[in-house]
Symmetry: C2
Subunit: 716 residues, 2 copies
């Protein structure tokens, strides 16, 4: 419990905690009811405060500060606005962030920032709880536009533009994507041709497909832009570079001569952001507006770059984009936490159908299916959260310069490309499942699931389309495979490769030991123990990644030496497998992050419960891919059949701790803001129960026709 | 091609048809390019017009009429409206439907209707393409409110209220759900107590949980309502009955005395409908306002009913709800068709990354993963569509009275409960996948995926929560199992039971034959032939349902004889399996419907292509549940490993016919209305290509730095 966040657990959460009704969830009703009472010594307890601190991670202070801010009603999304009204509100909120000194942490200390990259992203992520439009619009302004000037520009650019960008005097755009090219940035068609005569670059849009598109701040607010274009000088195209371009007259807010655009209009969500299109008709800008850190053009038109290889130069410049992916990964986890907090609180109060007694209806969270729906996602959210913390650490290491080799940057890129797809898809899945788990009430905007889901929808395709990102990961895995594990030191990203290279015997043996154990014991129950074993899960998950990569690697062997078209066709024949392998790799990273975090938990009760949750995550992954384990002889039929039962038993164990596990997220009513999670449901039920009791006591209660019929039948 | 719909295929669809670029999709690029040219005799062709007619089904005329109407811009959703504006527009559209004589087909001929239940629902479903709010608001008015008066009331009620309901003079509510009870309708707490002294019913809301909630037309428009309440007379509660209640003064539009309410506010979608809450404080209505077809109260308070069992009476009255489920099933299929039409058209034009050539970029639909994402959903959409046609037929049989026994009604209920969950979840999944497959453009409202998805979201929980419905199906399957297959004649619903009872040997043998075949041949390729075989798929899918039901049935044996709490706990321990079994059953029904429809296709080319699509559906189901088949010894490891490859080969075969398969849905530009599917993308690419060509011809094209470097390296 901290000073800056409001009370986690909120208004209605406590009531059901002390005596969870767990009767239907546990196999044997009587004992289960007893087991679920926390006062019995057999039942471990979660130290919510300590777990909460652990979840806040290394940048706890930045998170707390941002969460405190995110509780301010001025920053909350107002539902039901038109997109025009919403845009205007969001722009005002950006100024509010500036006024509250909330968005400058990453900028140079010399300009009033703090050179704190990890803390900046951590705080930024938390804004999603206030309004995802606010988060992303802030991301456009400071995370993309500002960052591009900072990372791609040099000191003169910093001095000239960063103060205005930081203060919001210059709202701006990150104008990279074009209608014709999104994922394939290298092929954008806007040109910046150097004119040595006038010492200017000429920014030009040659055709409609080259219009900049989906650009935040472009439709209304953007006064400036970092425009990505093919740099042409002396008849040579040096590839994509970034240019600072003034877009609108600060007074009239009209486009400057030669610049035009369109409004992208209403979107599926994030309507607080004015996305739009831009095009340039031979717009002239000073030579010095080239953000020249990685490539420069001299007055006479000579091109120079500290990075000789055009390919490497391109990827270095694009590297600034990784911050967006890191942020989305964290924001997706935060949104999943908000949704699960609301849905699980409601499910501990809401009752429907009286299956197990004539009077009391079942609490939703005591239904097995409801537990499956929510707890498996709770487990994944924990895993994604711990994995994000590792990603953030890696990001800070690189951007702070603490560990900033080429290899570090590549590892960071690959790690972000692996985790962002999983966490953003997971957020959509979780928001939807929570919405459905709350029925019609879940569909009301006052409960926020549908609103958050609509806003987060685009997280899965922007800042790198998830499917494309996973292919980047797959290519890296294949490259590592091709190197035959010679270069083994690339950190968490390819830990499995490390294992393969340095300790293949351990893992292989681990797996064989497990298999042997099952064969020896021949006992279904003992087989489950092996699956629950950390090393058993690790062996299964690791082996799957290794084998999948090796299989595709073998199939593609020599593809690079084939004629281009044939090589591409061969590659395409294995595209589905490749993406699956990348996903398996990313899931393993999540599982490892969860397991490493577990090692840091000191409280035994918390560790016990979190271990169940980690097992649930691991077993859910194994269950999802059970066919693979069976087809490839990694699990026997008999053992595979125990997985589902073991998951069901974990659900029952986790049930009494569900509220603690969401309370540890640390989000209070001011963040959750769901009518459904305020205890209102319990109040309504108490009132209804009191009414029925009173009616019975008064003797005025009508007799049920069914009861009457039963009596008549008996009396005959 | 029909007169009433506009040109399927739309403006931009034709261009890519003649020479689909299939190079990357097929294993060997050269020959594949040749194979994909329709003029070669080896390539079958789809008879789009004939297939389109088949898809329109038995009520083709009603569908065509409704589609013609749905093209009218007056009925289209205007995006970006506030919920207040949207509500007002939708109400106006209801009047437009009345004026165009579009919504009275199901009502009695004597009152200007046509007594045509199947045609009515078929037409109603198509309105989803104009605006789902319009569809559902029309459903509230005529499908729920009007239907309740028609089916639960008697002639006096019909004469008194139906004309006003039909003409929209009386907009009204179907006030069943309460804040405290949604899925468990039998437990609603609103009471209707008969007062013999005044010959009135007193409608009363005893506490907050008993407020009617999520009720369409309640917040603003509803003048009347069919209110569901516990009927109490002479001290006996006869269970839930329906009462006609005037809500608002037709002049002032204010609530009548004793009635109050609240606006449910903004929702995740369907904001054209004014959902709200209602409560009643001892509101008195005439005795004759009881809709008394299935239960009546005499002047002296004597209760009578043609159905002695209160349980059966309740389910009979609720039976009118099935129409809603049938309609949602059909509307979900229609929305899936719209989404796939747009996404597949775009994917045949959009290009990104030049993997297989130095100049041309790949068409998205030639990527294997893209084919997987879209074609598997295309196959499921066909299956769901054919299954829906069977459901509609069954519905019409019952409601027309042609086949209206108790058993028919139960079969209809179970069939609707099985199909509605699958098709509505499928629609959300398809809309989302199509939106993601179109990247950032997919997120723009102008391309409609996000808008349709938001509106259809609640389809999965209203008119019967999908998870609850599947449990109803499971219970029916268990009941049939318990009967040991004595009553075998319940039509399509339990065809597998029929098979089990009358031809178990055939199926068992079928499965064994397949297994034997694989064992004998030992050939992976031949095993794939067996999987592709219709009987092979049927055997696998059928066996799974049978075995799952039998397994759970055995586990639950005697649960009914246990004390209530223990029985419920045992049941709950198997809830997850039960729901999975119900889903497997529903999937089998879809597969069978697809297979039966296939038998009606006369054109050999069409049949060939549709057979691939059916196989893709069947194999996708088998792949999804591959772990089950392996764990239970139904497939060998070797054979299981062929499933994925076989699916990949089917994708390549289907690729050249993708546009034909969506064109056969028969939706034109006026229905699809997605900027992305108008051919604009191709136009942009043609322009870009012409520009590049022109630049090269002029000799002014800049040289790529990479090319320059390569040249330099060579010249050294």
């Amino acid at each position: 419990m901290t000073e800056v966040v409001d009370r986690p657990g909120g208004s209605g959460a406590a009531a059901n905690r002390t005596v969870p009704n767990n009767s239907a969830a546990a196999g044997k009703a009587g004992p289960a009811r007893a087991v679920s009472r926390p006062q019995l010594p057999a039942q471990p307890a979660v130290d919510v405060a300590a777990l909460g601190e652990q979840l806040l991670g290394k940048w706890a202070d930045a998170r707390k500060h941002a969460r405190d801010l995110a509780r301010h009603p001025e920053l909350h999304k107002t539902e039901g606005l038109t997109h025009t009204e919403h845009r205007s509100r969001t722009f005002g909120q950006l100024q509010y962030l500036v006024d509250h000194n909330a968005v400058h942490r990453a900028f140079p200390a010399a300009l009033g920032g703090a050179d704190d990259h990890g803390g900046n992203v951590a705080g930024f992520e938390e804004l999603v709880t206030a309004d995802p439009s606010l988060q992303i619009k802030a991301g456009v302004q400071w995370g993309l536009f500002g960052s591009a000037v900072m990372h791609l520009g040099t000191e003169e650019h910093h001095a000239k533009w960063l103060p205005g960008i930081m203060s919001l005097e210059i709202p701006g755009c990150f104008a990279m994507t074009e209608t014709g090219h999104g994922s394939d940035v290298a092929s954008i068609a806007t040109t910046a041709t150097y004119d040595a005569g006038s010492r200017e670059f000429v920014i030009h849009t040659p055709f409609r497909a080259a219009w900049k598109d989906y650009i935040g701040n472009a439709a209304i607010d953007g006064l400036g832009a970092v425009v990505f274009a093919q740099l042409v000088t002396r008849g040579v195209n040096h590839g994509v570079h970034a240019f600072y371009v003034d877009l609108r007259d600060p007074q009239t807010r009209e486009f400057l001569p030669g610049i035009g655009g369109e409004d992208d209009g209403v979107k599926g969500g994030l309507n607080g952001i004015d996305n739009g299109r831009l095009h340039f008709d031979h717009v002239r800008i000073p030579r010095t507006n080239l953000l020249n850190r990685y490539g420069d053009v001299a007055v006479d038109g000579t091109y120079t770059s500290p990075i000789p290889s055009p390919g490497r130069r391109f990827f270095t410049m694009l590297g600034t984009l990784v911050q967006g992916r890191v942020s989305l990964d964290g924001a997706a986890v935060a949104a999943s936490k908000i949704a699960l907090t609301a849905a699980i609180r409601y499910a501990t109060e809401r009752r429907q159908f009286n299956a197990s007694s004539h009077t009391d209806e079942e609490v939703l969270l005591d239904y097995q299916r409801h537990q499956r729906r929510l707890f498996t996602r709770l487990a994944t959210t924990y895993a994604a959260g711990f994995a994000h913390e590792q990603l953030l650490q890696k990001f800070d290491d690189v951007f702070s310069g603490a560990h900033d080799t080429d290899e570090d940057r590549q590892d960071l890129e690959t790690l972000a490309a692996a985790l962002k797809p999983l966490s953003t898809w997971h957020a959509l899945d979780t928001l939807q499942e929570c919405r459905e788990a709350c029925g019609g009430a879940g569909f009301l905007i006052e409960n926020r699931f549908a609103s958050l889901r609509a806003d987060l929808d685009v997280y899965v395709t922007f800042e790198g389309d998830n499917t494309v990102l996973l292919q980047l990961v797959a290519k890296r895995l294949l490259a590592d495979y091709a190197k035959e594990f010679r270069n083994v030191d690339f950190g968490v990203l390819t830990r499995y490769v490390v294992a393969q290279a340095t300790g293949a015997a351990i893992h292989r043996t681990g797996l064989r030991q497990v298999a042997q154990f099952v064969a020896d014991s021949g006992s279904v129950q003992k087989a489950a123990i092996a699956l629950r074993d950390e090393e058993g899960q690790r062996a299964l998950l690791t082996d799957r990644v290794q084998t999948m990569v090796a299989d595709v690697g073998s199939a593609l062997k020599g593809a690079n030496k084939l004629p281009l078209e044939k090589g591409a066709a061969l590659f395409n024949q294995h595209q589905h497998e490749l993406i699956d392998a990348a996903q398996a790799h990313a899931e393993l990273l999540q599982w490892e992050a969860f397991t490493e975090a577990l090692a840091e938990v000191t409280d035994p009760g918390t560790r016990k419960v979190l271990t169940w949750l980690r097992d649930l995550f691991g077993l859910s992954l194994i269950e999802k891919n059970l066919a693979w384990y069976l087809m490839n002889g990694r699990l026997s039929m008999q053992r595979a059949r125990t997985v589902g039962d073991y998951i069901n038993r974990l659900l029952v164990k986790i049930r009494p701790h569900a509220l603690d596990l969401v309370d540890a997220f640390g989000y209070g009513d001011g963040h959750v803001r769901a009518a459904i999670a305020t205890g209102a449901e319990k109040t309504r039920q108490d009132e209804a129960r009191a009414y029925v009791r009173g009616q019975r006591a008064s003797g005025n209660a009508p007799v049920d026709e069914k009861v009457l019929l039963a009596r008549t039948a008996t009396s005959r």
